[in-house]
């Protein structure tokens, strides 16, 4: 049991820190408009790629650094310490590109991987639809074969970043007469292709980070298919497996910042930091958030011992999202009526806590809802039996459908 850096890890950390400090002026900041932030992030991504700090765990042949998962974590810790946000490339590099590398022919890999690593091209995930979220295998977007091409028709929904993305990973139904998991196929699409229309969705947090994407007779080549026809489900599972390892990243303010806020918040004749109820509630939330971060180190240790992380990594987002929601609500509640003010200039921590409170509901839904994650833990980790399903073995076209 050793939590400190090994000599190699310490050396890597020192190198990473020196690199980051040398590029202090290039580091992205969490503030500013989306397009400005994207421009800065692209530049930063290219600098990292030049120095072997982009896609640290990817093999060198794919432009990675051939490093360990631990090195990636160390680099990210050092970035986070300097206030660098995670943004824009997570879905592409975490989920889409690994799928391209695994399933696309060589010349497409050459074409896509480099520009993605350098932040020149951004990818999005075109999975969810109006009638297919948790039950992803219920997608209805149709891909119909036409010679060497496919014609796409349908609608994707909740596509994060589609409005600034160049390409997307798309799952479509190629045979509605097969049972639902069997009639699916995965493709990549160029979002500039004729017939694609992207409409931003105004989300409850006020921002516009996701979109609906319409496909009207969009013609794509069969060369854009990833995996065999009818194997889309398997490819989707491969893509999502990568997503879960990424999930559960640290969120919210560090404990020291929260304690400073509590001390500055009047409560009765003393401060929130003296209030027994707050102290107890904060302690309970802290051990859960801290437990998630520490669980990730156990996963890393398992990986360094040659084991593959399993579905147990799903606990991260499940715990973190709810705790973030409750903690921010608690801090805001303690401000009394003043807590209603949501203004970067007036609210605590420049509005971060209000931002977290309004984003938390989305985190609890995106990438597997709380309920779905509990199902996954129960079935795949604990081995409990699946629920009975009425639509699994009948043709998709005959399965019951609602709104």
């Amino acid at each position: 049991m050793d939590f400190s850096d090994t000599p190699e890890e310490a050396a890597y950390r020192a190198r990473a820190a020196a690199f980051l400090d040398a590029h202090a002026a290039d580091l992205p900041r969490p503030t500013g408009g989306e397009m400005d932030r994207l421009a800065v992030a692209r530049r930063w991504q290219a600098i990292k790629a030049d120095h072997g700090y982009a896609c640290i765990t990817w093999p060198r042949e794919w432009g990675g650094a051939g490093g360990t998962a631990m090195e990636q974590v160390i680099f990210r810790q050092e970035e986070a310490r300097r206030g660098v946000p995670i943004a824009f490339f997570g879905i592409g590099l975490g989920l889409c590109l690994p799928t391209v590398i695994r399933y696309a022919p060589a010349e497409q890999r050459e074409r896509f991987v480099g520009p993605a690593i350098r932040g020149e091209q951004v990818w999005c995930q075109l999975f969810s639809e109006p009638a297919a979220g948790s039950d992803l295998a219920g997608v209805r977007t149709r891909a119909v074969r036409d010679g060497d091409d496919w014609i796409l028709n349908g609608q994707k929904l909740w596509t994060s970043g589609a409005h600034y993305s160049d390409y997307g990973l798309l799952i479509a139904r190629t045979d509605p007469d097969l049972p639902k998991h069997k009639g699916l196929t995965m493709f990549w699409v160029d979002l500039k292709a004729p017939g694609i229309e992207i409409r931003p969705i105004h989300q409850m947090s006020g921002g516009v980070e996701f979109n609906e994407v319409f496909f009207n007779d969009v013609r794509i080549s069969d060369a854009q298919r990833l995996g065999e026809v009818g194997e889309g489900w398997k490819v989707a599972i491969f893509a999502l497996m990568n997503e879960r390892v990424e999930g559960g990243k640290d969120r919210g303010l560090p404990a020291a910042r929260i304690i400073a806020i509590a001390r500055a918040t009047p409560a009765g004749d003393a401060t929130l930091a003296d209030d027994g109820a707050f102290r107890a509630a904060f302690a309970d939330g802290y051990v859960r958030m801290r437990g998630v971060s520490l669980t990730r180190y156990r996963t890393l240790t398992a990986m360094s011992r040659g084991q593959t992380p399993g579905p147990e990594a799903s606990i991260g987002k499940l715990v973190m999202a709810s705790e973030l929601q409750e903690l921010s609500r608690r801090l805001i509640e303690a401000q009394g009526a003043y807590g209603l003010i949501d203004d970067e200039a007036l609210s605590m921590a420049d509005g971060t806590v209000h931002h977290d409170l309004l984003h938390a509901p989305g985190i609890r839904i995106a990438g597997g809802t709380d309920e779905i994650l509990r199902n996954i833990i129960a079935e795949r980790v604990l081995g409990l039996p699946a629920e009975p399903r009425v639509d699994k073995d009948i043709p998709f076209s005959q399965a019951p459908k609602g709104i």
Binding site: N375, L384, P385
Partner: protein
């Protein structure tokens, strides 16, 4: 970073598990539970001593094996799994630790007795309802003699040597007191967990000597909190395993109850709590072993998470079993009782949440 037990420690775990499966079946636990006259299982205790478990972390010059605290965590987890009815925590995590941390050369001689199983320890802090506070403490040392009543004291009937918190001059400190002295009167008190020993001890001019400084009790409880967290995790994981097994076999409405989401999600939550507790406890183990100055926050976090996990697992373990879970014959209530016993043994989770906040405040001040 290497954030898990080592191969040697996993080996130690396998041996410990095999040993306890053979020597500490549920019948052994029930033997103490059902017999009000027994404070612990003396045969099991003797067997543990013979295995060298009480000697594990003691220095070699005192008859110990000189192994680390993380090794001890492994044993703690295994003891917790099987609900071992023995005064291990009181003797090894508390008395022996106190002697090693702060004992004078003469006091440390007692370690030999612990290694050889001739000495059982206990810690006597509480004096009645509510969390003890130094300001209200009544036990007092006058002219080298201890006066006062401690209620309750875990393992107070089985113990031969007590750590007693008492006023002495202007200070509140721990003292060593020999419980076989005629000035000591002790009696069992009925308890939520009759598989474990609980006593009332009256000191009426008992010879005693101070050990350590005023800060020792808090440093000692931090260390014990980490080790006890592993016992709690052992118990909580056992509850989860039993409940999962049952949920696969028990049918209602034509299918296993484990395919119903209400049960599934309950068990998933149990799993999550246990993992959260385990990760916090690993950090506590590292802080303990490495002497990190983050030990106060790490220990408190380990304790808060472990108390929550075990209580939830024990409580919902009964619920998962339905009516059978509410019977004396079913083992679920043994965990329910033990979860409560471990919750309250070194200060309640309520007190430890507050302690965690204080520790984080101290850490934050340090960072600024």
């Amino acid at each position: 970073m290497n954030f898990d037990f080592s191969e040697d420690q996993e080996h130690l775990r396998n041996e410990a598990r095999r040993f306890l499966e053979a020597r500490c079946g549920i019948g052994v636990v029930r033997g103490v539970l059902d017999d009000g006259a027994r404070s612990h299982d003396a045969d099991l205790w003797a067997a543990l001593v013979e295995q060298g478990w009480t000697a594990l972390t003691l220095p070699e010059e005192h008859g110990g094996l000189g192994m680390g605290r993380t090794d001890l965590c492994v044993l703690a987890e295994e003891l917790g799994r099987v609900l071992a009815p023995v005064p291990f925590a009181s003797t090894v995590y508390l008395l022996a630790e106190a002697l090693m941390m702060a004992g004078t050369a003469a006091q440390r001689e007692r370690l030999k007795d612990i290694a050889a199983g001739r000495c059982i320890g206990c810690i006597a802090i509480a004096e009645g309802p509510g969390e003890p506070s130094p300001a209200r403490l009544a036990a007092e040392v006058r002219g080298g003699r201890l006066h006062g009543v401690k209620l309750p004291v875990v393992d107070g009937n089985a113990a031969t040597l007590a750590l007693v918190l008492a006023r002495n001059g202007g200070q509140v400190r721990l003292h060593l007191a020999d419980l076989t002295d005629p000035s000591v009167t002790r009696a069992p008190v009925d308890t939520l967990d009759p598989a474990r020993d609980l006593a009332r001890i009256a000191f009426d001019g008992t010879p005693c000597e101070p050990i350590g400084d005023e800060g020792l009790v808090d440093r000692l409880l931090d260390r014990a909190a980490v080790l006890i967290a592993f016992e709690q995790i052992g118990g909580a994981d056992r509850c989860l395993e039993t409940s999962v097994e049952f949920a696969k076999m028990r049918y209602a409405f034509g299918r296993p109850i484990g395919s119903q989401q209400a049960i599934k999600h309950k068990l998933a939550d149990m799993y999550v709590n246990n993992q959260i507790a385990r990760s916090n406890a690993y950090y506590g183990a590292w802080a303990l072993e490495s002497g990190s100055d983050e030990l106060p926050s790490a220990a408190a976090a380990a304790r808060v998470a472990a108390c929550h996990a075990y209580w939830y697992a024990a409580r919902e373990g009964i619920q998962t079993h339905g009516g059978i879970g509410f019977t004396w014959e079913a083992d679920q209530h043994l965990h329910y009782r033990r979860a409560l016993q471990l919750d309250m043994t070194i200060g309640s989770p309520r007190a430890w949440r507050d302690r965690l906040f204080s520790a984080l405040e101290a850490q934050a001040d340090e960072e600024l």
